[in-house]
């Protein structure tokens, strides 16, 4: 990292952190909404754990993985909306007049979202355990889970950044949220693939990248260490980042040229 980047990125990161902390309307739903869905689904679908060959010890331990991924969806909406506001308010135009590097601009914006992701991860884990979820991998598993959460939030946040630079308005970025929800639902979110009876649904769920992330998260909760599942989860997060970081930088370049 160059000396210039070492100065620029912490400044933008500090701004991002302060901005996130000062927006309870963004922070509170990002924590409460996944927890509410978790509570509703855990109790409403609890009987599903009675199905033969259900892999988790109970449904609570199965569904506790979902809030960790929903944090990623909130990262798309939150980060994208923040950046879109910067574009709409002209802040990005002013930044474009400075010698700020493109990569620094993109990565500096992530600090608040990553911090929020860590807070979300810790809260989801504590509440999941308090509610009775099994967690078999101990403290090392907690560390890996939080690193995975950061990777998920980083990857999905890049989707929000790329969309904000591309579309330039918050409404269009918010429109991505329901679309990503589709990916969430058409996965192994609620049921393991082997127990999905509809062939078309099972085929989609088995190939849905979101299912690989769920596998990785769940491997930390029950069944002991599973390097393959973890590699799949981190691999999907890395692949999303590898696709959307260049897209974000390219969209930023195009926007700055237009400016």
């Amino acid at each position: 990292m160059s000396a210039r980047a070492r100065t620029q990125i912490p400044e933008l990161a500090r701004r991002s952190l302060v901005r996130t902390a000062r927006q309870p309307a963004q922070v509170v739903p990002a924590i409460t909404f996944p927890l509410l869905l978790f509570a509703i689904n855990a109790a409403g679908l609890g009987a599903a754990a009675d199905l033969p060959d259900f892999p988790a010890p109970d449904y609570l331990t199965w569904i506790v993985a979902v809030p960790f991924l929903q944090a990623g969806l909130f990262a798309v909406a939150g980060l994208g909306a923040d950046l879109a506001r910067d574009i709409e308010s002209g802040f990005l135009d002013r930044l474009a007049l400075t010698p700020l590097s493109r990569t620094g601009l993109v990565s500096g914006q992530m600090a608040g979202t990553i911090a929020l992701g860590l807070v979300q991860g810790l809260i989801f884990l504590v509440i999941g355990l308090a509610a009775g979820a099994t967690f078999e991998t101990g403290l090392p598993g907690v560390a890996v889970l939080l690193v995975l959460e950061v990777a998920i939030v980083f990857a999905f946040g890049l989707i929000g950044i790329a969309a904000a630079f591309r579309f330039g308005n918050g409404e269009a970025v918010q429109g991505l949220f329901p679309l990503l929800f589709v990916f969430l639902f058409l996965s192994t979110m609620a049921m393991p693939a082997d127990l999905i009876e509809q062939d078309w649904f099972r085929a989609i769920a088995e190939h849905n990248p979101v299912s690989f992330i769920f596998d990785g998260i769940r491997s930390l909760f029950y069944g002991g260490w599973d390097p393959g599942a973890l590699a799949g989860a981190f691999g999907v997060a890395a692949a999303i980042s590898a696709v959307f970081l260049p897209l974000a930088v390219r969209a930023l370049n195009a926007r700055v040229v237009r400016t």
Partner: protein
């Protein structure tokens, strides 16, 4: 209702439906979301019907169809509440109030919009459900009973959302209209029959009036004997309660000058 009020209600209703059907950004999500929920629940969770004690007589597609029908009807009402908020935010509501001698006719007009939107969603959802193998055990009268319950939910949700929209007169109140409806609909026997619910959801569902509506609607579609008095009593009670809430909101909007 006087002829003048009827004319106002019909004009508001026509305007709202015209705007809805001419704007793809409103039509497409309204259509896609119930279909998507139906696909995700009926397709992904059908194994749940193999759980011991799952005693619904028709298939899981039918079981989930009823839930999505009630949910989509309620959201048709909520989204019409968004339209009210937008009208009052932009000043159209104030002009409509000036033109309407009896302002309750405006609410009646929005009720026509909500019902029209719900009808559109019912057609789409029912067609899809039948196409993917929904089993129907009930007769015509049973189905009429089910759709009437869905209509009551649609109007109840509209009155709730209208009460919020008329008090805040801003689209920023959207989450306040939407979130409680989303939650109360899910704190009911969504995935399994009531007897299979466990924990706090079972306790909450037992006092949630939506539970009676969903269970009766499922009985209607399967041709089983439904607790009609409880379901219609709960639905009508909610409609009256939130109707008063909406009328008081209308009075507040009038007092504020629209």
């Amino acid at each position: 209702m006087s002829a003048r009020s009827r004319s106002v209600a019909l004009a508001v209703g026509w305007r709202g439906l015209h705007r809805f059907f001419r704007d793809p950004t409103m039509v497409v999500p309204s259509m896609l979301f119930p279909l998507f929920f139906f696909g995700a629940f009926a397709g992904g969770l059908s194994a749940v019907s193999d759980v011991p004690g799952f005693d619904f007589p028709e298939n899981y597609t039918t079981f989930q169809f009823v839930f999505v029908l009630i949910q989509a009807s309620a959201f048709g009402g909520v989204f019409t509440g968004f339209a009210i908020a937008r009208d009052f935010e932009g000043g159209v509501g104030r002009r409509m109030m000036l033109a309407a001698p009896n302002r309750r006719a405006l609410l009646a007009g929005y009720a026509l919009v909500a019902a029209g939107r719900a009808l559109f969603i019912w057609v789409m959802l029912t067609a899809l459900a039948l196409a993917v193998g929904m089993e129907v055990g009930g007769g015509v009268a049973d189905l009429a009973g089910m759709y009437t319950l869905a209509l009551l939910m649609n109007l109840t949700a509209l009155m709730w959302a209208a009460g919020i929209a008329l008090r805040f007169r801003s689209l920023q109140a959207g989450p306040l209209m939407q979130t409680p409806v989303f939650l109360i609909v899910f704190i009911a026997p969504v995935y399994v029959p009531f007897d299979l619910l466990t924990g706090w959801v079972k306790t909450a569902a037992s006092v949630n009036p939506i539970t009676a509506v969903i269970e009766a609607a499922r009985d209607f579609v399967s041709g089983a004997s439904a607790d009609v008095a409880l379901a219609y009593g709960a639905a009508a009670g909610m409609l009256v309660f939130f109707g008063i809430w909406a009328l008081r909101g209308l009075a507040k909007a009038e007092a504020a000058g629209g």
